[in-house]
């Protein structure tokens, strides 16, 4: 006798546009883990979903916003942080999170990233670092380790990558962390923390991309990269950020919540300027 089993709803279904499933990501891709962690953090944040806004640029990771049942925006390549800045200046009460790839956030959008960190814009940025441009089939970018093979570095990448936490901390961010897709619990907590930080909050999430990066760099299966994370990750919240660049050569992969500090946010300062100026419009 056949038994009809009603599929259980996932506890985060109400935060996802489940009617859009199946998603576009490859088997073994790490982006789904990050999206689920984001959903868990929203749940744990105590901030109602209609007060969350998710903004992405373009890329595989850029698709996250469209799967979240929130006010969501899938913008242009690299410009999500600038878009988020305008939006959150007008509505500083909303919890604005940018989720996008390393190419999007660090490379084409790198200028927006450092300036948003410098201004201490009160938004959250989750950068999924899979060391390459996944969406366009695997080219190198600003986070690709030296020597790595991609379609545009066929003889090995000869460009030194950015050490992202070091860069963003130096630019002035209020919160800076790095985790991998193996550190789910820590990642959820870090995202939850960034939602209560008043200032620019940045998390780099190291993530497997088996078909376009792993395949050519000794991580052909997702499990290979997860195994690497397990073997080499070292949690050090007080790490010297200048020494935590990633080479994927078996050196310690330093993760942690590195920076958590308070200085006035951009939104607060803009509001203060309005207070200073208002009523002064004797004008023209």
């Amino acid at each position: 006798m056949t038994q009809v089993v009603k599929a259980q709803r996932h506890p985060r279904d109400s935060l996802l546009r489940s009617e859009r499933l199946p998603h576009i990501w490859c088997p073994g891709c790490g982006i789904g883990i990050v999206m689920a962690a984001y959903a868990d953090a929203i749940e744990a944040s105590g901030i109602p979903p209609e007060k969350h806004v998710c903004i992405s640029g373009i890329g595989c990771t850029g698709r996250v916003s469209g799967y979240m049942r929130l006010d969501s925006f899938h913008t242009t390549h690299g410009r999500a942080i600038a878009f988020a800045t305008g939006l959150s200046l007008v509505r500083p009460d909303l919890e604005v999170t940018v989720i996008s790839g390393d190419g999007d956030i660090c490379t084409i959008g790198g200028n927006h990233l450092i300036h948003a960190a410098r201004r201490n814009v009160d938004i959250n940025v989750i950068m999924v670092n899979n060391f390459n441009y996944g969406m366009t089939g695997g080219q190198h970018g600003g986070t690709t380790p030296l020597g790595a093979k991609t379609y545009t570095s066929p003889y090995g990448n000869f460009e030194a990558p950015f050490n992202m936490p070091y860069l963003v901390a130096a630019a002035g961010a209020s919160f800076v962390a790095r985790w991998t897709t193996l550190h789910v619990r820590q990642l959820i907590n870090a995202i939850k923390r960034m939602m209560s930080v008043e200032g620019f909050a940045f998390i780099e999430v190291i993530s497997p991309c088996p078909p376009t990066f792993g395949e050519f760099n000794n991580f052909p299966e997702a499990i290979d990269m997860m195994e690497y994370f397990r073997k080499y990750s070292v949690v050090d919240h007080n790490a010297d950020l200048s020494k935590i660049d990633i080479r994927l050569q078996g050196e310690p992969l330093v993760v942690g919540n590195f920076v958590d500090r308070r200085r006035p946010s951009y939104q607060e300062l803009v509001q203060e300027t309005i207070r200073k100026a208002s009523g002064r419009g004797e004008s023209v």
Binding site: R17, R20, P49, E50, K51, V53, I55, I58, S65, G66, R69, L70, D71, S72, F73, H74, T75, T76, G78, R79, A80, A82, F83, A84, T85, G86, L87, S88, L89, V90, R91, D93, L94, N111, H112, H115, V270, T273, I274, K276, A277, S278, G279, R280, G281, E282, S283, V284
Partner: protein, 381 residues
């Protein structure tokens, strides 16, 4: 305590300043910019004036960021604007396309300067006419207004916000260095006398019975963040739910809807002024500052016994095709002077039923009336 609104009455004001006062009266409370000659006075004055009326004016890291920030601000509920010139306008093209597909009502002011690339930053040009229409990839429509005086710069800035809100689309005010930096008389009306169009906002309760993007309607109401709409707004071609699609059928529907918002309203959008065209045999078709020297030229032509007139185009895009077609049927020739080497003359030629003579003038100064007069005389001969 002052309301911060501009004082109504007669003022002597720089065009770039008048633009800011108009924006304030139109309800704009968000400015994001990056300085560039000859538009910087707009940005600088916005930084003084916007906070006085509770508005925000911020400096971004470049013009791509400025337009991205405007779209974000628009979706947060604000009326938003930026101002730029040539090189900055080029950088804005990608996100003007984003504003078009995301249906974000934003206003972009381009105070045109001379020449390609960095050109001559401090001098006049009219070389961005085609770029304002065709500069962003993938088949878009833009609404473009061109002022020829400080008063028109003021009036058209208000108009631009109203059109942007009504059609939920980016609108461009294509000024030029002369109009931007010139000081002239401008009459500022009281706030009550200014017609201000407010945005149609999506009621989240309606979303249980209707999709956020109904491609069969004229213009969809806009979902604003934080109101419970939870709609996906996408730069990818999207279906009626706002979800990405590669369906050619939906692509066709979406584009017809987006383009239709402007094409179906073209006639309402067309603005132009006619001078002495009733009995004219030769008509000069001009826009922006060039309309000023053209007016002088046709007056000189009249003094010499030539029945000359002027059609000043204020709406450049969507192109006022019928206006040209109608006029060209009762004149002998049209003369199109531009401070470029031939841009708006092309659509004029497309619709004209009579010969069209172009007068081209290197960017850097206003076309001198005698140059236009020469062409009018040739056309009349």
């Amino acid at each position: 305590m002052s309301s911060g609104l501009p004082r109504p009455g007669v003022h002597f004001m720089m065009g770039n300043f008048a633009c800011v006062e108009a924006a304030i009266l139109a309800g704009c409370r968000f400015f994001a910019g990056y300085p560039i000659t000859p538009s910087s006075e707009i940005f600088e004055r916005a930084c003084v004036r916007f906070p006085q009326v509770g508005g925000i004016a911020v400096e971004m890291e470049d013009e791509m960021a400025s337009v991205a920030a405007l779209i974000g601000a628009a979706y947060a509920g604000a009326k938003a604007m930026t101002a730029t010139s040539g090189p900055g306008f080029s950088l804005m093209m990608e996100n003007i396309g984003l504003a078009f597909i995301m249906e974000a009502p934003i206003v972009i002011v381009n105070v045109q300067r001379a020449g390609p690339s960095t050109g001559i930053p401090t001098l006049i040009g009219q070389g961005d006419v085609m770029q304002a229409r065709w500069g962003s990839h993938g088949d878009i429509e833009t609404v473009v207004y061109s002022p020829s005086s400080v008063q028109e710069f003021f009036d058209l800035t208000i108009k631009a916000f109203n059109t942007a809100e009504r059609l939920r689309t980016p609108v461009i005010v294509l000024a030029d260095q002369l109009v931007g930096l010139m000081w002239e008389k401008v009459v500022i009306p009281t706030a009550e006398d200014v017609e201000v169009v407010e945005r149609k906002i999506m009621d989240p309760r309606l979303l249980s019975t209707r999709p956020p993007f109904d491609y069969s309607v004229d213009v969809n109401p806009m979902p604003i963040v934080g109101t419970g709409c939870r709609v996906n707004i996408d730069s990818l071609t999207h279906d009626e739910r706002g979800y990405p699609t590669t369906s050619q059928e939906i692509s066709d529907k979406m584009l017809r809807y987006l383009l239709g918002k402007i094409r179906n309203h073209a006639r309402e959008l067309w603005m132009y002024k006619e001078f002495m065209t009733d009995d004219a045999e030769v008509v000069v078709v001009a826009y922006g500052s060039t309309a000023r020297s053209s007016l002088n030229a046709i007056k000189q032509a009249r003094a010499r016994g030539i029945k000359a007139g002027l059609l000043q185009l204020i709406t450049l895009w969507p192109f006022p095709s019928d206006v040209i077609e109608r006029l060209s049927q009762r004149v002998n020739a049209l003369v199109v002077p531009e401070i470029n080497f031939g841009q708006l003359v092309h659509p004029v030629r497309e619709y004209a039923k009579c010969p069209v003579i172009n007068v081209n003038w290197a960017p850097g100064s206003l076309i001198e009336p005698h140059v236009i007069l020469d062409a009018v005389e040739v056309a009349a001969a």
